[in-house]
């Protein structure tokens, strides 16, 4: 009905389509985020009143050793957590995806489904499961390592300052490796057969085909996997909270931004929580993620353009 458009009637239908979703999205997501940014500029008095204090919360967080030590510690740990994912999770995911996409593979669906399975489970469950498996009391891992002759290398990994964070990172990698695998696998399937056939006819080896043809084509997917990993890692909380508690011990060796945020906002044991300092930590997390996302958009800009029509 082109006449409707010609008359330029008020587009009620657009309001109808956009309204409910947009209302909820703006109220529960956009507004709280902006309000959090606002709250980070205030200080909460003893009686609960808020007073405007400008950037003093941030100067505390970044420069006052009492706050900045934990903050930088958490940031640094979070970065390590992310690096482990990038260096271990995503390459393994890529390898599994490439193997899965090999032509005429039998049991493909079974492998795919089973390897993806841990991703479906709650991080809380996974945390408890691994805690039991690595428990020196139960000794499953210890006995297994004795069986394969590595018993002497067993240690209370989750309890040692030097190994706790790395162990937790590996648990997380174990759980989520299915995600990059699936996404990259899908991208590999999306490569037209003619291109691959052409490359084979040209005499390229499988390795050359992968390196020269497939990898560049799946680069956007790898970029997306990386940014998803980045955001998820800098937003992580559950695994550490479940396994190490809100205090993220020993000696804060496993403290990441999510646990720091939780402790700052809600307090812990005799430490009082602070609404406004919590907001300040959240704001800094927001900035970190924003920088990451901006970097990604800058490197893979093609994708924004497509989404924005």
């Amino acid at each position: 009905m082109t006449t409707i458009r010609a008359k330029k009637a008020f587009p009620w239908h657009i309001i109808f389509f956009l309204g409910p979703g947009l209302l909820i999205y703006l109220t529960v997501s956009v507004y709280p985020l902006l309000d959090t940014l606002r709250l980070s500029l205030y200080n909460e008095e003893m009686n609960g009143d808020l007073t405007f204090t400008g950037l003093s919360n941030f100067s505390k967080l970044l420069f006052d050793v009492v706050w900045s030590d934990p903050f930088w510690n958490a940031t640094w740990n979070n970065l390590k957590f992310f690096v482990v994912h990038m260096l271990i999770q995503n390459p393994i995911g890529l390898l599994l995806a490439v193997l899965l996409s090999s032509p005429k593979l039998r049991l493909r669906n079974s492998y795919r489904t089973l390897i993806f399975l841990p991703t479906m489970l709650s991080v809380v469950i996974i945390g408890f499961v691994w805690q039991l498996l690595l428990s020196p009391l139960w000794g499953i891992t210890e006995n297994f390592m004795w069986d394969i002759g590595l018993g002497d290398y067993f240690d209370a990994w989750l309890g040692k300052e030097s190994s706790a964070l790395f162990t937790l990172s590996l648990i997380s990698v174990w759980q989520f490796v299915g995600l990059p695998m699936m996404l990259i696998y899908a991208a590999l399937l999306g490569i037209p057969d003619e291109l691959i056939d052409a490359s084979v006819v040209d005499g390229s080896s499988a390795w050359q085909t992968f390196w020269n043809l497939k990898l560049p084509l799946i680069m956007p997917t790898i970029g997306m996997v990386s940014i998803l990993t980045f955001v998820a890692n800098f937003n992580a909380f559950e695994l550490i909270y479940t396994v190490k508690g809100a205090l993220a011990g020993p000696n804060f060796a496993t403290d990441i931004m999510g646990t720091l945020f939780y402790r700052t906002f809600f307090g812990f044991q005799l430490q009082e929580g602070s609404l406004t300092m919590g907001a300040a930590v959240a704001t800094l997390m927001f900035l970190v993620i924003l920088v990451g996302v901006a970097l990604y958009l800058f490197l893979f800009q093609r994708r924004v353009q497509r989404f924005a029509l």
């Binding site: 239908h13 657009i14 389509f17 956009l18 979703g21 909820i24 109220t27 529960v28 997501s29 956009v30 507004y31 709280p32 985020l33 959090t36 709250l39 393994i92 390898l95 599994l96 193997l99 899965l100 090999s102 039998r106 669906n109 795919r112 390897i115 841990p118 991703t119 479906m120 709650s122 809380v124 469950i125 996974i126 408890f128 499961v129 039991l132 498996l133 139960w138 499953i140 174990w174 996404l183 696998y185 899908a186 999306g190 940014i227 937003n235 909380f237 909270y241 479940t242 999510g258 906002f265 919590g278 907001a279 959240a282 704001t283 997390m285 993620i289 996302v293 924004v304 989404f307 029509l309």
Partner: protein, 282 residues
């Protein structure tokens, strides 16, 4: 080209491929297997031989009895179900409507709203927790499932809009134009033509929305932590925190939390994978 060589080469390659995939499958399944198996054993057997399957001698359901007696797993489960089903329903409905509006009509603010929603894919809603808690307090929704449902709708919408708009774009122009020529209203076009066409994508979105909701600990912990409002993830977290000394109960509660997800996964994995491989998420 010599045909014998690639054949042989292929068989070796297939063997290696299977070996690697099989190994990794075992690594992925082993921990879950150990937990489930041991939940059916007596306390002594759990500690003495963790890797053995339960025998008639060591078989014991004491953990499950304890869990069902001392916690409200049925309540946790139905809470999780109510929260995820309601959230998914609204995410799909509102998400599809928004996706349709953003892709089909050009209007002032389209780009801005599109960008705002796109931001939501990358910026976790968790960062707004401080104010979400304030907001829910002022609406008197703290400690209700509604608080969770609202948060999860807002959390799920961006990705839903993104994925669904990709699909809506692929709907042939002729279909819509034909309907418009017949005088069908925009709203009816959406519900009778567009929605049925994007059903496969909806399934994918549903699964993608479901996983983080079902598994979330953060918001249940903060917004609805007690009084029979716990979701299953929080319920298990609290239960295990409470009864850590009793390994039978711990293993049984973990098993009870894992099994429903396994069943759901077995039912929906086809949908999930089809969604993924048909390029729903590019």
């Amino acid at each position: 080209m010599n045909f014998a060589l690639p054949m042989k080469h292929n068989r070796g390659k297939a063997l290696v491929t299977h070996a690697v995939l099989l190994t990794y499958t075992l690594i992925a399944l082993f921990p879950i297997f150990v937990v489930i198996v041991n939940s059916f054993k007596s306390r002594k057997a759990i500690f003495n031989d963790p890797l053995a399957l339960p025998t008639t001698e060591t078989f014991s359901l004491v953990g499950f009895e304890e869990v069902l007696l001392r916690s409200e797993f049925d309540v946790f489960f139905s809470n999780s179900l109510i929260v995820s089903v309601s959230s998914i329903f609204f995410v799909l409905l509102f998400g599809a409507m928004m996706a349709w509006a953003l892709t089909e009509y050009s209007f002032k603010g389209n780009l801005l709203i599109g960008m705002l929603v796109a931001m939501g894919i990358m910026i976790p809603i968790r960062l707004g927790t401080v104010s979400i808690l304030e907001l829910m307090s002022s609406l008197h929704l703290v400690n209700t499932l509604w608080a969770l449902i609202f948060v999860y709708i807002a959390q799920g919408l961006p990705l839903a809009v993104y994925i669904l708009s990709e699909f809506i774009k692929q709907v042939p122009k002729e279909l819509k134009e034909a309907a418009r020529c017949d005088g069908v209203s925009e709203i009816k076009i959406f519900f009778t033509i567009i929605l049925p066409l994007i059903r496969p994508a909806m399934a994918t979105v549903a699964v993608f929305t479901m996983i983080p909701i079902w598994n979330d600990l953060w918001f249940p912990l903060i917004l609805a932590p007690s009084d029979g409002n716990q979701t299953i993830t929080l319920g298990v977290q609290q239960f295990v925190g409470q009864y850590v000394t009793d390994w039978n109960s711990v293993l049984a509660s973990l098993t009870l939390a894992i099994v429903p997800v396994l069943i759901l996964y077995m039912i929906f994995s086809r949908q999930l994978i089809r969604g993924l491989t048909s390029g729903a998420v590019k």
